[in-house]
Symmetry: D2
């Protein structure tokens, strides 16, 4: 139905030069190295929540890009309920539970861009810079970063908002993204969303 | 998380040479020509339900490919509730309400293949022939058919399972798909899902 | 090699709000209805050449989007030679022979966007409006127009610069694109490339 | 023109379970670390040529996947001429010069799959296993491998047929592909193309 599609995201577009992606944070942590990873995931979740709150204040769209755990028949909210009640990482999921105004994109594979609507959504949001966070830094975050780089987004991968099975693996993934993808990996607290905040004090074109 | 992705659709894959797509049948019918279209949509919905029941018996995967009405923040089940309770087409939506075992794919634009996971899903289902149904025959069904044809699927567009604003427009879209996309447009009752039925009389699910 | 890719199209980018696409005009016309089509294709080629000259003057990038005739092993210039010497449409091919500054994109299927580099190229050219021309109006031009519309390009399909097997089929394709894709189908002579022309009177190339 | 597209690659399809990709070997080596890389590239080129000869004998399609160096206006053969005559790596280019029966795919970015026809070509060739070779192992080869893995190809990245700026970087890229992409990185001489050879002794369906 064409008219509906003129504005992809309904009556409340959230145009902003940044978007914050939370990758695979809604997770049942039902895989071999989960305990190892969870040790890092809990403090990471607190950093990420702080960053999310700052993004919300600055009008930066928040997008959950999540594995659907192979269930194209269920929906994402059901997955959230399941993971927040029964998963080994329920504290993490509880902290980062999606809220009313968050976007979500289900991905069938490792990269958030592969066979999903992410690229179209980001184009409508007029995103130029992507802040990539989540699990695992050396896998789905890295795959998504590769694809984002090929699509000419500026990349931020705050070092305190991704985790991998080991600290060393995470550091090495961050180094790789810094070097090859020109990613900025400064800690989240040092990312300035301010320029945009200023802009949004003027009568913004596209508010929620 | 890689291991999860080995089998894209979880513990109960539904491999079959056919897949049945229901396009934009979950619809609030909130557009100018809706009344006109609904006149045809109600009898169509009954035909389509019969076809869906036959598909389920034959083990043919049923995939809802639906506009998300611009709301990447809500989920599909919520859209279903909304449309089945408040929309002008609630009878249609009620008849065709998705069930536990149905797949669904949200599309941001006209074609079900554009910026969605549909192609990946169909590849995992090992689909060769697509049965396209739904609303509107001369628009989203046609766009999806074009894209399916380029991807070398065999096309069936049963003439009694799509509707457009006018009968004439629907017929002309069907003629177009017959001619250019080599689509088979025989009425749904005459589509044989039989060969596959035999296969699925063995203890169904996931074989091959 | 990354640095090379910062600017996709070398040292002489041609940013412009328009791009002119010539679809399948390099053609051996080796198919059943070719004679019928060639009757219309010859006068069309003269109109299209005039439009191309105007585009060149206005700094509008000219992009050949062409079937490779199943030969991923040969190159486009060889195809041009073949078609301009031996094909039944050699007059057409001769008139519209690609020149040094023209871009070209080989397509494996009907739509110029399917499995090609066209979308990336147009993004680098900063194209907003596409002028679609070529052969056949009711097939490859139509398929390309559908895909362009889904990607939010403004469409121009000048009625005197596309042909189909019959005049009636071409008219009906034009009507379809006007209605569903909001295409502007005015004759080529009435398309104003003027605003841009002003810009390009400054020492052309790469600005904005 | 539809009929042409039934068989994407003309009258001489080369169906095989493997395909050999040569990534960015046609290269002007006009970048800062070229000298360093060329030290490794020359012996690599000899290994790769041997592998190519074996592939040709076994009926494995050979596909050049190459940066077009930002020139969408020139063609690949011209690039080959340029690089084989003037580039600092002309020995490499001369050894690996594409031949009449080789396929080629021009890529605008790092991954051979991004915005190219590669995926469609491989589907028509019925490729299941990809042998990735070329330059640079830790960049374009790695990006292409990531994308191939998401598309469920089995990967072979023979350790003696890729090079990076330093040996250490190449080893680390190979380790990464082994671990995350389940790539087989045994040296080229130990890759068996034999099974397929047997198959092709039967009256093959699709020969050249």
């Amino acid at each position: 139905m064409p008219e509906k599609n003129i504005d992809l995201h309904g009556s409340a577009p959230d145009k902003h030069k940044f978007a914050l992606l939370l990758i695979d944070v809604i997770n049942d942590f039902d895989f071999p190295e989960a305990d190892q990873l969870l040790k890092y995931a809990r403090p990471m979740a607190r950093n990420l929540l702080r960053l999310k709150r700052r993004a919300q204040k600055a009008g930066v769209p928040v997008v959950y890009v999540n594995d659907n755990f192979g269930r194209w028949k269920s929906d994402f909210r059901r997955t959230v309920e399941h993971c927040s009640q029964h998963g080994r990482g329920r504290e993490v999921v509880e902290l980062l539970r999606p809220e009313e105004n968050d976007y979500f994109v289900l991905k069938p594979k490792h990269s958030g861009f592969f066979s999903t609507t992410l690229e179209t959504l980001l184009r409508y949001l007029e995103t130029q810079g992507l802040i990539l966070t989540g699990i695992a830094g050396n896998f789905c975050v890295l795959f998504t970063a590769n694809d984002a780089y090929m699509r000419d987004f500026n990349l931020f991968v705050p070092s305190d908002c991704t985790v991998s099975n080991t600290r060393r693996k995470n550091d090495s993934a961050l180094a790789l993204m810094r070097k090859f993808l020109k990613a900025d990996t400064r800690p989240s607290a040092r990312i300035s969303l301010g320029v945009t905040q200023k802009k949004s004090q003027q009568p913004r074109k596209c508010r929620r």
